[in-house]
């Protein structure tokens, strides 16, 4: 990792009619960095990436990728980037090798260089022996690694991954991230969008994005620390709704929200919530089960920063 910015985004705006999908977004990504855009569906992550790839023209603001302006030099930009989206957009009616040859050809990789890169991509995606299978017959994880292979045949300096792991099993996701880290070590700048919390943790830096605005930016650890200003407690109680209403009235409680079947409650530091809260809730006819201090997750940070109903990561699919 060095300090030369590979991607510079400055007050980027994209409007669709009256709707502002991306609102004054600015960030810089260093070469070799893995940078994540984290946010719910429709928050503007994909729109941002699509502008950086030259698939959409910005309404205002500017962005450069490897020093090239994405609006004015879109064609040069494309020579230096790889792009992979959630749909693994390969041709299902071509074989793995035909897909690689096709995309290699479009990127102008030819001759021995193409053969070498294809051999590399086949090995990387674990497709050795299955090169002649139709892509449509491959399983999700294979398809995804093949799509990655197609996207980086031309050794791009920047790789955009737009929800690239959506719908893939956890093991394949892990393998996929190992490949991403390897590329990052080789100096490839990687911009990912995701709504998976575990994936967000893999990133060097994150930008939390909500309704087109960046609400917080930093390393995953720093975001969690700064977002939660107090102690975080997990409270299991019944009834859940009554418990939420009651706990918000309790002394020292800064915020509370429902997480799955329990409540996450932020209490200002220096209090004794483990004893105070059960007593307070009992007085309000709420039966408390388990109550314990937990360390905040990125989702807690996101809820705390936006006040919105989380990313709902696990409810997708």
């Amino acid at each position: 990792m060095n300090d030369v910015p590979s991607i510079v985004v400055d007050k980027l705006v994209k409007r669709f009619g009256d709707f502002t999908a991306v609102n004054q977004v600015s960030f810089q990504i260093r070469s070799g960095e893995i940078f994540g855009l984290l946010g719910p569906n429709g928050s503007g992550k994909s729109t941002t990436i699509r502008m950086l790839c030259g698939l959409l023209t910005p309404s205002s603001g500017s962005a450069t990728v490897v020093g090239l302006d994405v609006a004015r030099q879109a064609e040069e930009v494309r020579q230096h980037i790889g792009y992979m989206s959630q749909k693994f957009s390969l041709y299902n009616d071509l074989t793995a090798i035909e897909n690689l040859q096709f995309f290699g050809g479009l990127y102008g990789v030819k001759g021995r260089a193409l053969d070498e890169r294809i051999a590399w991509a086949i090995k990387m995606s674990g497709l050795a022996g299955s090169e002649q299978l139709l892509t449509g017959e491959l399983s999700g994880g294979w398809k995804q690694r093949l799509a990655l292979g197609c996207a980086v045949l031309h050794r791009p300096q920047v790789l955009f991954l737009d929800e690239a792991t959506a719908g893939v099993d956890p093991l394949s996701r892990r393998q996929f991230w190992e490949l991403i880290h390897e590329m990052s070590r080789e100096g490839v700048t990687i911009l990912v969008t995701t709504h998976y919390m575990d994936e967000a943790e893999y990133c060097n830096r994150l930008a939390l994005i909500d309704q087109g605005l960046i609400v917080e930016m930093g390393t995953p650890t720093k975001i969690k620390q700064t977002a939660i200003k107090g102690d975080l407690l997990l409270v299991e109680c019944s009834p859940l709704g009554g418990g939420l209403a009651a706990v918000k009235q309790a002394p020292g409680v800064l915020e509370a929200s429902v997480f799955g079947a329990a409540l996450h409650v932020v209490v200002s530091t220096g209090r004794q919530p483990l004893t105070e809260l059960p007593a307070f809730l009992a007085a309000h006819d709420v039966r408390v089960g388990r109550i314990e201090l937990i360390s905040p997750s990125l989702e807690d940070a996101f809820v705390s920063l936006t006040g919105s109903r989380a990313l709902g990561s696990e409810s997708y699919q």
């Binding site: 698939l55 792009y83 989206s85 071509l94 096709f102 479009l106």
Partner: protein, 377 residues
């Protein structure tokens, strides 16, 4: 640039090779359509079943009625004794026409007065009715002429010898037997090609948009016009093969003569293919799903077919409709097809049609490339 276009072409053919349904669609329906149209699309009125009501029962009335079956145009299917039966026959569309001769028919003729032959026609199919009535007129006219001459001959043979007569001699150029297959088969070549090429191209780009590969391709250094060329050249080749197939099957099977220059026809085919490819492209850029493309394609094809002069003469259309026909590529191609097949005319006659197709192609191409740029956004 050529590398990338070549890459697209190879890919398209690979996909086509794998697509069993597309191969079927390119081969079987065009030939079936050719045969169906060739046999069914006809304006000829032959062996029309008719009902007759002869209330005169004279030699004259029998003579007149027998002339109808004699030509082969009509067949007496029913002999009726009252008009009630006729109503139900025509109502059920069993019979499109009936002839009625009132009592006293022969008597009037013999007195040298005007006698009536009543024709009752099912006018719902106005075209067939018109043609059938035309034949009736001819037959009745001939009968009356012959009858008059016979009587004159009997009464004053000397006078009969000097009565002048005009005889009609028909000389239909290019199609002496007025065989309507000769008219339709070249037209069918045009309409099948139009349908084939427009639907193929309209779906081609929309499908890529739908499955997301368009986006994946557009983030590579390929330029939009390279993509469009790579996408359309294969369809051009396929379309060309299809035209040749349909044309060969049509001409051999239906024995339609080809009197012109093959190269002139080929030039017309190329220009027509280019214009229809661009119509398909335009539809592609206007739709975001295959379903929309289907609806738009249908919306284009139906009027394009009706206004082309395939079946309905353009000169008989209202002026405003005639204006619309000028943007219909099939209109020009049909003139080229019929000109080369039947009339054997060359570029000296057909250049305006060629020019029109070339212009249409250029305008359509400009619009669809501009639309394609926008549609990626």
């Amino acid at each position: 640039m050529f590398d990338r276009i070549w890459c697209m072409i190879v890919k398209e053919f690979l996909q086509l090779r794998r697509d069993k349904y597309a191969r079927f669609r390119l081969l079987v329906p065009p030939i079936i359509q050719m045969l169906v149209y060739g046999y069914a699309a006809t304006f000829d009125v032959n062996r029309v079943p008719i009902a007759v009501m002869d209330f005169d029962h004279s030699q004259e009335s029998r003579d007149l009625l027998s002339r109808f079956t004699f030509t082969g145009r009509f067949e007496v299917a029913k002999i009726l004794s009252n008009e009630q039966e006729l109503k139900s026959l025509i109502g059920r569309s069993d019979i499109p026409m009936a002839l009625k001769i009132e009592p006293g028919f022969a008597e009037l003729l013999r007195k040298g007065q005007t006698a009536h032959l009543q024709v009752i026609v099912d006018g719902t199919n106005s075209n067939t009715a018109l043609i059938a009535v035309g034949y009736v007129n001819q037959i009745a006219g001939q009968f009356s002429q012959d009858y008059a001459r016979d009587r004159l001959n009997q009464m004053t043979p000397a006078l009969a010898a000097v009565v002048p007569q005009i005889s009609l001699e028909q000389r239909p150029w290019y199609n002496p037997d007025l065989n309507s297959q000769w008219f339709f088969v070249p037209g069918v070549i045009g309409s099948i090609t139009l349908m084939m090429v427009v639907t193929l191209t309209a779906f081609a780009i929309v499908r890529e948009r739908e499955i997301g590969t368009l986006e994946q391709v557009m983030v590579t250094p390929i330029r939009p016009f390279e993509f469009i060329l790579g996408k359309t050249i294969p369809f051009f080749v396929v379309g060309l093969a299809d035209v040749i197939l349909v044309a060969v099957v049509g001409t051999l099977w239906f024995q339609v003569p080809f009197r012109g220059n093959v190269l002139v026809l080929l030039l017309g085919v190329v220009l027509f293919l280019l214009s229809t490819l661009n119509v398909g492209l335009l539809i592609s850029t206007l739709s975001s799903t295959q379903q929309q493309a289907f609806v738009l394609g249908f919306f284009f094809l139906n009027p394009a077919f009706t206004l082309s002069g395939f079946a309905f003469p353009i000169t008989s259309m209202p002026k405003a409709m005639q204006m619309i026909t000028y943007v219909d590529p099939l209109r020009y191609f049909l003139v080229i097809l019929r000109g080369t097949f039947l009339k054997g005319v060359g570029l000296d006659i057909l250049w305006p049609q060629m020019l029109a197709l070339a212009l249409l192609t250029s305008v359509l191409m400009l619009i669809s490339v501009a639309r394609f740029h926008k549609s990626i956004d």
